[in-house]
Amino acid sequence: MKKLVKYIIADILRSRIMIAYTVVLLVISFSVFSIEDNPAKGILSLLNIILFIVPLVSIIFSTIYIYNSNEFIELLVSQPLQRKSIWLSMFTGLAVSLSLAFFAGAGIVILLYAWSMTGAIMLGCGVLLSIVFAAIAMLASVKIRDKAKGIGTAILLWLYFSMLFDTLVLFLLFQFSDYPIEKGMIALSFLNPIDLSRVLILLRIDVSAMMGYTGAVFQSFFGSEVGMVIALAIMMTWIAVPLSISTIRFNNKDL
């Protein structure tokens, strides 16, 4: 399995889209930090880009890659290999390559210009988001046979996580504004890995504002070490659940 992963990573890293992704990230993050003299503000500008681009590229690229690898996967299945290890190799290959691309594109710049706890959390979130959306892409592509439909679903999922979900939260908030819903808000943020990442970074960048009445609830939860561990556990769940469901599906799938 290790060998297989190595070949898959080598393949993905040489793909033109992946190289373009890395270069675009690199250009954006370099220009963000060279325009802003204040690294904290640079981090801020980078935040939106990361929360926007990383999930998008991760989910779309992974979906397309899996569909394009259909025949290759068939060939692998005809070899003396366990289906599970083939599927996990594909996932590992995607996760590692996407993380590497993110790290090379944005991570190094963050390390150079804004090395702080905030920078570290941002880096961690970027890597985790890459992996989460690779896992979600694997689930989408194993469930849907048709390539066009699968890519469409991937785009919809991304739209949901990056925009629709927040709109929904805002709507709920207006509806239930008379009730003490702060704790519920924390729970809601668990349902979206992008939101969870954003809140974690928010609590550092806007710590003063987050210490206000409602923010303090978030701060006391996520600000504590226990909260950080829980947040990490939630992100891990976001990887593990789609991945294991997709693996089970793939094990019983007719190719």
């Binding site: 927040d166 908030l173 939101d195 928010l202 960048i205 504002a209 206000g212 009445y213 978030f218």
Partner: protein, 418 residues
Amino acid sequence: MPKMLKIITLLACLWLLAATVMELSARTIRVGKTQSVTSIRQAIRVALAGDTILVDKGLYQEGNIIIDKPLVLKGIETPVLSGQKKYEIISVKSPHVVIEGFVIKASGQSSMQDIAGIRIYNTHHVSVTGNVLEDNFFGIYLQQSKHCLIKNNRLKAYGKAEHLIGNGIHSWKSDSLTIYGNHIQGHRDGMYLEFTTNSNVEHNTSHGNLRYGLHFMFAHHNNYTHNTFSSNGAGVAVMYTNHVNMKSNNFKDNWGDSAYGILLKEISDSHIEDNLFSGNTTAIFMEGASRIRINNNRFNANGWALKIQASCMDNRIERNNFRANTFDVATNSSLVLNNFDNNYWDKYEGYDLNKDGVGDVPYRPVSLFSMIVERYPPAMILFRSFMVSLLDRTEKMIPGMTPEQLKDTMPVMKPLNL
């Protein structure tokens, strides 16, 4: 030269004579375990007005010490006066008293009386300098006193809850005080001034007090300069006062709901200048404030730099630097009666075509989302999400909900040199 020498000798003799006369009229009484006078109360009893009482180091537990004549009470190597958690330690009931160089600790506590480490009753020209006040209910308490000097004292208490502890420096109905270079920590309010006028509060540090670092009411014509108010439970709150001058103070890290750099309530004709506000949840909260000039201040990394309630008018906010604040200005009204001019806003995205250093389009410091958060605080969790950025941008282009007139028409392009 001999003539010169003669004059000098004569002068020396005269000085010597003067000193001897002084010595005769103002005696020095030494108090200590090994001295003939062993208690401070005894020394006060035998002393005459104008005498100096020097207290050797050691622990003195004498209950309530009342100073009822003009005396200088001076500690040698910081003797400790303890109230054993029962007594008011020193009560000053005479003018021209000096208390210097003591550790004054463990006053009594009461929910009925305001028991203090040092309390100054209805007098004038009292000076309390260079003392350490530790674990007292109230620290230094002035009532109806004038021309007093409270300088370079360190006050430390260990209050657990607001109703279990008194204020650090507390002044009531006093006038012309100088409060300088004190360090206050762990009290309810660091400094509390009520009906206190014409006073100077300078170079003090009020840190980690349970409620307000500084709190005053009906305290007109006072100056507050070069003080630091940090990490106090609710920041600084000033109320019902006019003609206040706050300059070069440092308000920082006052975190929490209803924690403010300064809360200005019913303040008028005042001047807030050259201060630094950093890392506060709300740097300045204004309610019923009018004719206040807020200029040349630095607002760095606050949650809200300014929250201006509808009841504020004729305030002028000019030439301040706003940097890295989560929200620059929030308001609960659409009516704007305050002026914003020539400030530097780091969120300003306009341009300066004629290169005069002033942006060509006005800056609107109130964002749509800040208004949403005002009304629905939990919405804060959506801050910086893509959807919210989109909302804010749309609003910036076509203002609908945010007050149309609240704008800085001459925002400067570069940070002001403050």
